[in-house]
């Protein structure tokens, strides 16, 4: 049974991201948040399709972070692509360090944590959201 909401990011999360980028007095209608949810899903789908095409052409089965960065660039979202490449580098470096730490402690218990660790909160300090991704800053 497929829930329609499975195709969208949660409205609470989307709304929070929207609210945090706007001035404190700004209000956002529920419909605007719903529209943003749909746009975000379309963004994921669109980029994933491009990335998947590339994988397919290169006879690879697993879609990885590099494919996403390439797809972002191929559709003209260069700023996103560059920012995500930097993010990916830091992410992989962090994973390597964790793997080394786990090896030193010589336990396997951390192996599955990648899937449950809340990676998305990691900022790595490499994303400058004050203008680096928009071609035109709002006045």
């Amino acid at each position: 049974m497929t829930d329609e909401h499975d195709k969208l990011l949660p409205i609470a999360n989307v709304g929070r991201i929207m609210k945090q980028i706007l001035p404190p007095h700004a209000k956002i209608s529920k419909e605007a948040k719903e529209r943003m949810q749909e746009c975000a899903s379309e963004f994921i789908s669109f980029i994933t399709s491009e990335a998947s095409d590339r994988c397919h052409k290169e006879n690879r089965k697993t879609l990885n972070g590099d494919d996403i960065c390439w797809a972002l660039c191929s559709v003209g979202l260069d700023n996103y692509s560059e920012a995500m490449l930097r993010y990916l580098q830091k992410l992989r470096e962090y994973e390597r360090q964790r793997a080394n730490q786990s090896n030193q402690v010589s336990t396997g218990e951390d192996k599955d944590e990648t899937s449950t660790t809340n990676w998305a909160t990691f900022d790595f300090g490499i994303l400058d959201r004050r203008g680096s991704t928009s071609s035109g800053k709002p006045s």
Partner: protein, 114 residues
């Protein structure tokens, strides 16, 4: 046992609370996008989580410009639609929002009866 502290700065992100997007949901959306998508590496949804955040932020900022131009303080879905249409790199969203902009009726377009 894991030692806290070494990577705590990375974990907290230094922002006002985490604004992460659920990775499992992102993965579902990715799988739904195309029949060709079979296997997805662990890092891919993580990259998308950040990319989506940037995307939502950018589209929100641009939509807010539309809200201000209309002299309102509440963002409406038409503002999101206008921002999409106004931004070349968001062309892939035009079909998705086109019914919103089509429904937007400006008062100045209404014929005035004397």
């Amino acid at each position: 046992m894991r030692q806290p502290g070494a990577y705590s700065k990375l974990v907290s992100g230094g922002k006002s609370g985490p604004h992460s997007l659920p990775l499992a949901r992102i993965k579902k959306i990715m799988k739904n996008s195309s029949d060709e998508v079979k296997m997805i590496s662990g890092e891919a949804p993580i990259v998308f989580s950040k990319a989506c955040e940037l995307f939502i932020e950018e589209l929100t900022k641009r939509a807010w410009i539309m809200t201000l131009q209309a002299k309102r303080r509440t963002m409406q879905k038409e503002d999101v639609a206008s921002a999409v249409i106004d931004t070349d790199i968001f062309d892939f969203l035009v079909n998705l929002v086109s019914h919103d902009s089509a429904n937007t009726v400006r008062e100045s377009d209404q014929p005035q009866e004397s």
